[in-house]
């Protein structure tokens, strides 16, 4: 078992008017939310193509698009990110505005 797995996604946002917010998102909670959405996504995959015409669905989402597949891919990415342990994912500094996403 990898003991150095990241546990929290830390999002820091600082706006132009010196407003700053730090959001610690526990990865466990985030992934559980996504797992909870899986069922709804499966239903959406079945229902949405019947509510729209096939042409409209393909135009909006594409032929191979699947909500369930989207959730699965996001979960896979989070799992891989977690395995990398602690690291800075994104750090954007635009003068007074700053955004950083860290895994800790």
């Amino acid at each position: 078992m990898n003991t150095h797995r990241a546990q929290i996604i830390l999002v820091k946002i600082r706006t132009e008017n010196a407003f700053s917010i730090t959001l610690p998102v526990p990865i466990y909670v985030f992934t559980e939310c996504l797992y909870a959405c899986e069922g709804i996504m499966l239903i959406l995959d079945k229902v949405l193509p019947r509510l729209m015409t096939i042409q409209a669905y393909n135009k909006v989402f594409g032929k191979d698009f699947g909500f369930y597949r989207l959730i699965e891919t996001v979960l896979l990415i989070i799992e891989e990110l977690q395995d990398y342990g602690k690291f800075d994912l994104v750090d954007v500094n635009a003068g007074k505005r700053k955004i950083s996403i860290k895994l800790i």
């Binding site: 032929k63 891989e80 003068g95």
Partner: protein, 139 residues
């Protein structure tokens, strides 16, 4: 050393010919070389140099509005990007196809395999402009 001696003894006693003995000895040397590479790789793995490689994108600027962008994408995550191909909207795919980019047939795994083969850090893009510097590299 013992194994080499055994092979020489086998040649002496006539169990194997000199040519076969030579082949055995060279095979042993090759095994040793493979072991050395394996040890090197496992050492780098334990150091975290091989297992944790990142695709790093750095943009630096002198402008007041925009200073720096720093993105570290783990290479193993970059490999998963191929799964997103199906999620790209059809219109976007068509636009890319017009520019000659066929993302459906893009073999990302092969590209990332090639990037991972090089154990040291590798610079992919290095653009230096008047106000912007863009660096994309593997580390």
């Amino acid at each position: 050393m013992d194994e080499k001696l055994k092979i020489l003894e086998m040649i002496e006693s006539g169990k194997v010919t000199a040519k076969e003995g030579m082949e055995l000895l060279s095979a042993m040397d090759n095994d040793k070389k493979t072991d050395t590479v394996k040890n090197e790789v496992s050492a780098k793995l334990s150091d975290g140099k091989l297992g944790k490689r990142y695709l790093k994108i750095k943009v630096d600027s002198d402008s007041d509005d925009f200073k720096r962008v720093d993105v570290n994408i783990p290479l193993r995550v970059a490999r998963l990007a191929s799964k997103f191909v199906n999620l790209v909207p059809k219109a976007a795919r068509e636009e890319m196809a017009k520019e000659g980019i066929d993302i459906e047939n893009l073999n990302l795994d092969e590209i990332i395999d090639a990037l991972e083969e090089d154990l040291d850090s590798m610079k992919l893009v290095d653009v230096k402009g008047d106000k912007f510097n863009v660096d994309i590299y593997i580390e």
